[in-house]
């Protein structure tokens, strides 16, 4: 579980986040949504520990986040960003193995290899395994990166309930089938007990996959939804300033948000 207590973050005198308070419950899929510049990515970076709050505290698994060492943190949480420009030629396989824990061991340790092959199989991308990374399409590349990140979370001495996967706009530039492929893998992690926190742009993807949606606007957390208090059209009006209605898709528990374009 992560607890965010009165967290603010400022850079050069400008507040990017102010007074954020919320909890991230374990074993759930959390989505963070909001317009550009709302501070979603900054919040993910604070949660992942690459930025530090200028005020307030973040607690991860009962300890303050900044007290963990870099390598201890690497076993507990992994981060997938939007995309990765890589300037050197590298094989898919080598890239995925970058996610293994840092030990001085044989070039291809059997243990990590078996895990990697298992993950590739699970994600149905075994055919990408011998390719060069730069020859992959954007969607394939993102799945390969996801595979690397999952390998990082395979450490056995930490229980799944204490592990986190942070996704920073993981699907924004992908085709629809890859958007769902990536989020489906994330959902399968949730069923193993791992907590997923993802910044998403598409409100409907958030509705489809997340059990809790945290809405942000101008550096503030506006509202967090839960199963008891789901998203309502009024939230969309408040956060994005757009008229919207909830549409029943006809399938059980599946609603979607329809945005009504402003009339001329």
């Amino acid at each position: 579980m992560i607890k965010v207590e009165n967290v603010s973050f400022s850079q050069k005198g400008k507040y990017l986040l102010s007074d954020i308070n919320f909890q991230i419950s374990s074993g759930k899929f959390h989505a963070i949504i909001g317009p550009n510049g709302a501070g979603k990515s900054t919040l993910i970076k604070l949660l992942a520990g690459s930025l530090h709050p200028t005020e307030g505290k973040i607690w991860m698994n009962g300890r303050e986040l900044s007290t963990y060492s870099i390598s201890a943190l690497a076993g507990m949480r992994a981060v997938l960003s939007q995309y990765y420009p890589i300037l050197m030629p590298i094989k898919t396989e080598e890239l995925i193995l970058l996610g293994k824990s840092d030990r001085f061991e044989a070039l291809n340790s059997k243990y990590d290899r078996i895990k990697m092959l298992g993950l590739l199989e699970e994600m149905k991308i075994t055919h990408l395994y011998n390719r060069y990374y730069h020859s992959l399409s954007g969607g394939e590349a993102q799945l390969v990166q996801l595979c690397r990140v999952l390998l990082q979370l395979e450490r056995e001495d930490i229980s799944a309930n204490n592990k986190f996967l942070f996704l920073d706009e993981p699907v924004s530039h992908l085709d629809i089938q890859y958007q769902h492929a990536v989020l489906a893998v994330a959902t399968s992690l949730v069923s193993k007990g791992i907590t997923v926190v993802s910044v998403l742009h598409d409100i409907n993807l958030a509705l489809d996959y997340a059990s809790n949606i945290h809405m942000m606007k101008m550096g503030k957390l506006i509202r967090s939804t839960s199963e008891e208090q789901p998203l309502i059209p009024e939230d969309i009006r408040q956060v994005y300033g757009l008229d919207a209605s909830l549409v029943d898709t006809g399938r059980a528990h599946q609603y979607m948000i329809r945005i009504h374009p402003p009339l001329k």
Partner: protein, 269 residues
């Protein structure tokens, strides 16, 4: 180095390490007489590597500071600050050789082109003694170096202490290059070409790449040296002339041929 700056063109020549070391060594050659008067305890032969290391570290430090924080170092800023520091070093060297007497001036020029003619067993042991621990250290860190391919932030996410790693590798590298340059002079292009070729042959994994580059670099240098010693025998050509003459066109050829591999920083869609 190329991993550290996430940039396939980085080499000690660009980072100012070579030029700094060259300047240090030139100072020693130029002022050898007065130095040994001032500090008679230390044999002159010790000065060259020590002074070269100090100057090389200084120049490298300056280049990196001038090109901004490492997380934002771009190719352009690195090239520009490297170029200016190199130019300053070269002009001071020119000044020294202009004012020194003929044998010294000649030895500075010769030395700037790089030559093995002054190398004996004593220098060889010295280089081995410093080089092996440095290479060994880099080798131990090969997994962490690999993670830098992902970018600094994501290397941090996967458990690499980026700042610490950067300082340590830079230190090891500067000492290694400076001592070597202090003995044999500036041998251009080896530091860029050899890792390039090896990257294409064995991949970007540093556990393979580091030893491959070190060994093939040594072999290539021996061959070039053989060529340099025999082509105009009984005279000897400075080896740096040959490495530049062959290395530069080879570099352009390789880069053009394989440039799709290095992309423009984006993912091919």
């Amino acid at each position: 180095m190329q991993a550290l700056f996430r940039n396939p063109i980085v080499e000690p020549g660009i980072l100012g390490t070579s030029a700094g070391a060259a300047l240090g060594a030139s100072c020693v050659i130029g002022f050898a007489g007065s130095l040994s008067v001032m500090l008679p305890m230390i044999p002159v032969i010790w000065f060259q590597p020590i002074v070269a290391t100090i100057f090389a570290s200084l120049a490298t430090y300056l280049v990196i500071q001038l090109s901004g924080r490492a997380s934002q170092v771009t190719t352009t800023s690195l090239l520009l600050s490297g170029m200016s520091i190199n130019a300053i070093a070269v002009s001071i060297m020119g000044f020294i050789s202009y004012f020194s007497r003929d044998p010294q001036a000649r030895s500075i020029t010769f030395w700037n082109l790089g030559t093995f003619s002054g190398a004996g067993w004593w220098q060889c042991w010295m280089v081995l003694g410093i080089g092996i621990p440095c290479i060994g250290y880099c080798f131990r860190k090969s997994h962490q170096l690999n993670t830098l391919l992902l970018g600094y932030t994501d290397a941090l996410y996967s458990g690499t202490e980026v700042k610490k790693l950067r300082n340590q590798i830079l230190f090891a590298n500067t000492v290694m290059v400076a001592v070597l340059t202090g003995f044999v002079g500036v041998i251009a292009f080896m530091g860029m070409i050899v890792p390039h070729i090896m990257r294409l042959l064995v991949g970007s994994h540093h556990r393979m790449l580091l030893p491959a580059a070190a060994l093939s670099g040594a072999i290539l240098l021996c061959l070039t040296d053989l060529f340099a010693r025999t082509i105009i025998a009984p005279a000897e050509l400075p080896i740096g002339i040959i490495t530049s003459l062959i290395g530069a066109p080879l570099f352009i050829f390789l880069y053009r041929k394989f440039s799709p591999l290095y992309g423009e920083g984006g993912i091919n869609d």
